[in-house]
Symmetry: D5
Subunit: 146 residues, 10 copies
């Protein structure tokens, strides 16, 4: 039996009107790494339109700017109805964030659930030409599903 209350819509609006928001880096004098793990990424398969599910893992060393967390969440939510391939999603998210933040280093990983009995993960990274700072190995800190 469905909810009798009138379903709220503010979530749709926030996702539709959201823009990735850069904040000034509070500690620009140090190469510190920030790791984001976003287990609730879903988009649509380009060939069929069937749903795909993944965890997006972002590691980056900010330069002038850090990304504001809520705007990152809404940016990821916006992929829900978008038809995009495994390879392109990781590369597109990396391109969008690099363009916004111009980080010293950044890696974006798309860890997709099994499709056609095959598990697929795509790793894409970027670094400023002269970058010498840390490049931590890829690791998942949350319990992973399939």
């Amino acid at each position: 039996m469905e909810e009798q209350r009138v379903p709220g819509r503010y979530g749709f609006e926030e996702i539709k009107n959201n823009h990735l928001e850069p904040w000034p880096n509070p500690h620009p004098d140090r190469d510190y790494v920030t790791h984001f793990e976003i287990p609730e990424f879903t988009c649509l398969c380009p060939r069929s339109g069937f749903p795909d599910f993944a965890t997006i893992v972002i590691d980056y060393v900010p330069d002038g700017y850090v990304v504001e967390l809520k705007s990152l969440k809404l940016y990821i939510n916006a992929y829900r109805d978008r038809q995009i391939s495994h390879e392109s999603a990781a590369n597109t998210i990396l391109n969008d964030l690099v363009e916004l933040l111009k980080p010293r280093w950044m890696r974006v990983v798309g860890d997709y659930t099994v499709r056609g009995n095959i598990k697929t993960i795509v790793f894409a990274d970027y670094a400023q030409p002269d970058y010498q700072g840390p490049r931590p190995d890829y690791r998942r800190y949350l319990p992973t599903g399939m």
Copy 2:
């Protein structure tokens, strides 16, 4: 860079036109249990419209009919744009399947990812009045995410 190919649509059609399909039970003379674990359930929060994610776990002892697997998958996919609460999803899926299959026993569990720092799981079950067969404890066999 997005796909140059024209994105396929057959997935949308299959989900939209799908109906839960009952098949005759190949072994009606025995109370055997079938367990389904469906980690890719997503719907929309009734209050906000933000996405919710869960694993739906179904255990049942069929009587006259078993549910055809592909039609079950498409039925679950159809919740993608539906605003429904944690409690109602598990109870609604149970009601729909009981109405279709009239099983001897069935349990549907909605195992939701964390929202507002709280993990929520809803367990709903049904049994024919005179049912004496097995009622296995709830267990997850796939690695679980959050």
Copy 3:
């Protein structure tokens, strides 16, 4: 270096002014179980005032009412500055929720982190006198810390 922005206060207000909120049970004709796992409970030790940390796990079979999730989260947040013992926290949360919801069955577990090299967990439950429905074994579904 601290944030230059003026720190927001709306969180304090919401926690202070919050009341546990009962919603009508959308499926009162069935004994279905709802499981909540709240890993971010913290209060203060009655003897010393030092911080204590725990996960609160609530399982209940609603009768007329279910508890609204956001109000439950704020109710738990309100223990942050309250001096209360391991035994009393679990029993107090159970008493408050039973009084609010009058559930058919409910269990509240306080799973405390190690203190004095000893791990302590307190299990308290309640059932309506004539209750015959499910009483699932205690289980944690989230990865547990110490």
Copy 4:
């Protein structure tokens, strides 16, 4: 039912009056690594005032001084009512300890629980200009929560 005893206050006093305490390094002739894992860090979100929870992991190679364990615990407890961002907490703790101990190398990691469906971890490190000693990879030895 609350404690009838009058709640003790000595914990509040110790935290309020505490200062990070340096002790002479008992083995200054060797670059040995000390690893601290502090799973009970809590502070307040700068934007909302809602509670945040993290595990702070410190690895360092002491030079002249080691940090006294009890004073480190009380220093961490003092963040309970402080509004500070994910990035700043790790960097601030690193700055405070580097200033106190002048270690040969030190890394501070803030491993935050999930907020807005996103897991965040911040890694900040420091080394004396000419430091050639060990820099162990980041690892957690305690069971981790969310």
Copy 5:
């Protein structure tokens, strides 16, 4: 580059000419349980002819006869090119073994890998009418794949 040696064929012959072999129960005066876990079951999907993979788990309390291990292995190998549904495989194996051994109690479980994003497990059991002996809960002792 394939093997230059002429590939051996004795495996094909053994599987083709095999019959399930009953041995006299060495300890008929006791209701002891034997558990077999067979992770390398593969057959063909009845609808498509695509391969399906499962672990077959057999628990039984022998009466007059035990099953000889090698003949059980070859019997399972013989499903490689057989088109049979998830429900029917577990029930068929149970029927064949009950007919051969007339055990006091037996359970056969077909634990199938994920198909169409859904994990399926089928549990079928049998007991002599007056059987009062042990019926252990279903458990896997080997590390499980998907």
Copy 6:
């Protein structure tokens, strides 16, 4: 009781008529890594004809072409009746994929289940002569069986 429906054959056809399909790399200007994990590889032992089971793990950095997922699945299915040794399978799959895609770097791993009480894994890799891009350590992301 076997399926009354006439068993479908389209799966056999698709596997028999399949060819590995190269697609243009959507992001050729970056050395991004794609990881495939295929837990349902089965072939026949060259010495005996008995079945062997393995997980095939492919990591590669595409140059001009990526491999289309469905054609990769059908290529792997085609090993079902082929007699090939542990060493040769990994090397053959690597040779076939290198010849098709001419990747910048690729590693193929055959992780075989236990035979004769011994667990065997074969690691084979290839790189273009001047390749300087990432070569991630070997890792399994799916739960592994034996």
Copy 7:
């Protein structure tokens, strides 16, 4: 190099002068369970005098009294130099606590590390004659060593 400071002795005194301390049960009207897990129990082998190590796990339903945590820790510390067998330790701790608290139900488990290639665990419990309350299954919540 040893500590230059004069080693403190207050720990020895507290352990030597300690007595198990009963506190009034704050919630006597309910059969709630308290679980203690004490991983740092050590005593001496009665046959050799060599050290033995164990985790002591106590579950009990208090009647009039609960045990004060600090006094329980010191009571366990006092076994350090005591020669006592695996069977007797669990039974002796149970006898001492039952005599002090007169609980409605209590179980004490001694989970010993491996000796002579054999792992030993001893389970001893007590209940008031007419006791009908909960008797939870034995479970460990802390990560266990050997």
Copy 8:
């Protein structure tokens, strides 16, 4: 290069001359359970003479006597060169120990490593006719191999 020292033989003698040793039960007035886990059992396959490996798990409630640990270890070592089947080993060990100790209840489990791609576990138990005491579920507390 082998050991230059003359290899000791006292181990052979102790195993050859050993007899299972009963000790008086220190706490006969209580039905307490003792659990032994012996991961280093090896014997020889009756059909081939090839080595078999298992973990023997013994749970029992002693009546008048407990088994002395060292004599149990040497009794298990004595199976090294004995040809005995999976079913018979568990039943034989149970028979020998029941005859020696006359326990109130005892279960012996033989958990064999994989042979012919099949994992086998045998569970055999015994109870005095009027026994009403605890019969804990079978559980392994040590990390298990294959």
Copy 9:
């Protein structure tokens, strides 16, 4: 009750008459790694004659020859009655295999179960003087016991 059948002896013969067998490397033009994990190694302690148990893990890059799997299994079985120390077993197996296969690189690890409350693992490796190929980190892929 023992087996009535006359115990077979062919296993003893095969182990006694076995010789490590080199096969031509099917892919000599590539530095591919083969990993063997042999969890059922047992020998006798040189000091006492008591049994020791270990897992032997072999990683190697073949040059002209690969080792035939069955002959490797029988070679390991032959250590059952041999008195040899922890250090010597790993080094001896490495020496024997290097002499037979003349590999480009090889590592042998003896991972012994706990003796005297101490876990011991011995790592021994060999490489051709000019070897530049892969040297993978040591890793276990099978579930490990003690």
Copy 10:
């Protein structure tokens, strides 16, 4: 009820009279690594006299001598009544073993259980000036407690 037998004392004597014993290295021509994991280290806190517990992990590449295992166990047992800090224990054990064995490389790690809600691990290593052999990363192979 305590043991009626007179408690044996030979363990005390062995620990008191023990000296770390060097044995000639059976394979001095190779840089092989030996790993010891000793989970039962206990000493006394220098500030309070309360017990501390740790796992000591030793990795070393022997030169002329290896350490005899029994003498190492007794050396560790001798810390039971010794007041020593976390930092000093690891460094002291390293100094004692380096002085005895003059190894090519050695690392000693003291992995202490939680004290004051903080987990502490100390890593100390030593190498001969010109040492070029293996220095494996730190890893635990036994299941770890707290």
